[in-house]
């Protein structure tokens, strides 16, 4: 039961994953092919739904088998070369999924004690009590899952898994259904637990907020592959690949050429496409004439119906509205700026106030730091 990291020396407690799996499906076949290493601490697995994140977790937990690969954490769990496939129940990997799967016939305390079968009754009681206290749910002791609120249920599910002292922890959006304060409370408790139990935690989410709030490392997956990997600010704020840009919701993506470097100001000028529109963007290590890609969130752009004065934003680009499209409570406004199309997201109120309609002259305002640069 006890998984004491006696061999917790250099790198032994890392979670190592290399796997490929093919899904054959009449509509579309899907190839999963990933290779990564998770160190103790939080690592975020980020990607749109259908990217294969959950399948990766299922393979690590032993609920699904890869076609080929190698999975290890404190010992080999899967190795296709050696026909090794340790069954899920012998892997000591904690796995909490979004709908939690609490045992409906057991009380909160019995749920938490569920994985401690091998211990004596007294020991089981003590440990599950301690865990309930750590997660501040000791008052739920005798209640069944149906009698417990959402946030408390999440705590019971986490406590039930953590009390078994897993070698690695897999969390598949366990907090997605919660409001923000409850979520951040639970995350604090989880982080605190991880301080004293240095195991790799792989946390799946598609909320950008959680990526920045939680992760020491982030792995970005798309269509069964890893497309970026590193510390969150590196991967997310200067996304180097277009798919990351789309995942982050960068609706405006332009090919651009560097025309001017303003080292003193920390900016540079880029010409979009064939021109003539130019943008002042953050400075990166590059040369005049080099090609790159600029991504801008449609929600980061401003529209003005008159030439704006006294703005801090460096880029004010004249254009004509070509099209307006309503999506929910957002108005996607497409502006033609001398051949360069911009998409700007506005509220319904803004459309009314500015009386926006196709053909109207407007100015698109772009802040320098709203421009995300990607290498080609």
């Amino acid at each position: 039961m006890e998984v004491t990291p006696a061999n917790a020396g250099a790198g032994n407690s890392d979670l190592e994953v290399r796997l490929s799996k093919r899904f054959i499906n009449p509509e579309h076949s899907f190839d999963l092919d990933v290779h990564f290493r998770v160190k103790p601490g939080f690592t975020i697995l980020f990607g749109s739904s259908g990217a294969g994140k959950t399948t990766v977790l299922d393979c690590i937990a032993g609920l699904s088998s890869p076609d080929k690969g190698h999975i290890a954490v404190g010992g080999d769990l899967f190795d296709s070369n050696r026909q090794l496939n340790v069954p899920a129940w012998r892997r000591h990997i904690g796995y909490v999924i979004q709908d939690l799967a609490l045992f409906p016939h057991l009380t909160a305390q019995e749920n938490v004690a569920f994985g401690l079968q091998a211990l004596s009754t007294a020991e089981r009681q003590t440990r599950s009590h301690d865990m309930l206290r750590t997660f501040r749910i000791e008052h739920l002791h005798d209640r069944r899952p149906v009698q417990i609120s959402g946030g408390e249920r999440q705590r019971v599910a986490l406590a039930r898994t953590l009390v078994t002292e897993p070698r690695a922890l897999l969390l598949d959006e366990p907090l997605a259904a919660l409001d923000r304060p409850t979520k951040s409370h639970i995350l604090d408790d989880l982080r605190q637990w991880n301080e004293s139990h240095r195991v790799p935690v792989l946390y799946v989410t598609h909320s950008t907020e959680e990526v920045f709030g939680l992760g020491e490392q982030v792995i970005v997956m798309e269509a069964g592959r890893i497309i970026a990997q590193g510390p969150p600010h590196e991967v997310m704020s200067a996304p180097r690949m277009e798919t990351v840009a789309q995942l982050l919701g960068l609706e405006n993506i332009f090919d651009a050429t560097v025309t001017w470097l303003h080292e003193a100001r920390g900016t540079m000028t880029c010409r979009l496409g064939a021109g003539p529109v130019e943008l002042e963007t953050p400075l990166v290590r590059t040369e005049i004439g080099s090609k790159l890609r600029v991504g801008i969130r449609a929600g980061d752009l401003l529209l003005s119906t008159e030439i704006p004065h006294g703005l801090s934003a460096r880029n004010v680009i004249p254009g004509i509205i070509s099209r307006l499209k309503q999506r929910d409570v957002i108005i996607s406004t497409f502006v033609d700026c001398n051949g360069t199309p911009f998409e700007v997201h506005l509220t319904l109120a803004a459309r009314e106030a500015l009386q926006l309609a196709p053909g109207k002259n407007v100015w698109v305002v772009v802040k320098t730091h709203s421009c995300h640069l990607m290498a080609l």
Binding site: G62, L63, P87, W89, I97, A101, T161
Partner: protein, 224 residues
């Protein structure tokens, strides 16, 4: 009212439904979790007693238990008498006859347990057998009760198999349904009416208990 036949029938029904719990749970477990491609054939065989005339089933059981079959001979060498026309023989026939009435509700309730709970149990370190005992069985209570009660009620009222396998020996194999038949044959309608009414009431009470208990858990007929 022939109380000897009544108590014999109750004893048979209790023993048979208890045996069906013991035999039915492993069979239902296998039916639920096996991925064998020919599994459907086994399912069909188990369901046979629902559609077969009891006399057909009874005939084959009689053949299998008789002194010309290996089973019958083995039993004879062990005990000195044949299985046919004994209480034990009747038990075997009744277990086979009521098998689908136990196995199908069991299997249906095992299948209904959310597979996410099984995955959760496995990732908490529980072997498949532990998971079955600690998660699947407790959550299948309704199906187990249904299977037990249905096979009890079904055994109470069986006629064809009993007649074929057990004959009509008072105190040994003469059950209520055969008693009723005898009474009618003898023109003794008022006695037949008493016995028949008792059987009707018992069966109704048993089924009412089952459906009452499962009001929320099981809304369709227990055989799906």
């Amino acid at each position: 009212m022939n109380w000897q036949a009544f108590w014999l029938t109750v004893r048979l029904a209790v023993v048979v439904s208890a045996l069906l719990i013991a035999v039915g749970i492993p069979i239902a477990y296998w039916l639920t979790y096996s991925r064998w491609r020919w599994k459907f054939l086994v399912e069909a065989v188990i369901a046979l007693p629902i559609v077969l005339p009891p006399t057909v089933l009874g005939f084959y059981v009689l053949m299998a238990l008789g002194s010309r079959s290996p089973i019958g001979r083995w039993w004879e060498s062990l005990t000195g008498h044949t299985l046919a026309f004994t209480f034990e023989g009747l038990m075997i026939g009744s277990v086979l006859y009521s098998l689908p009435f136990a196995v199908q509700p069991f299997a249906a309730s095992f299948t209904a347990v959310d597979s996410k709970l099984l995955a959760a149990s496995a990732s908490l370190g529980q072997s498949p057998i532990h998971t079955f005992r600690r998660v699947v069985l407790p959550l299948s209570k309704a199906g187990l009760v249904t299977g037990f009660a249905l096979s009890f009620a079904h055994t109470l009222g069986e006629f064809g198999v009993v007649l074929m396998v057990g004959g009509n020996i008072p105190g040994v194999t003469r059950t209520i349904s055969i008693e009723i038949y005898d009474q009618v044959q003898a023109g003794n309608y008022s006695a037949a009416n008493h016995t028949a009414f008792l059987l009707l009431i018992i069966s109704f009470v048993v089924l009412s208990l089952v459906y009452g208990m499962n009001r929320r858990a099981l809304t369709v007929a227990p055989w799906r």
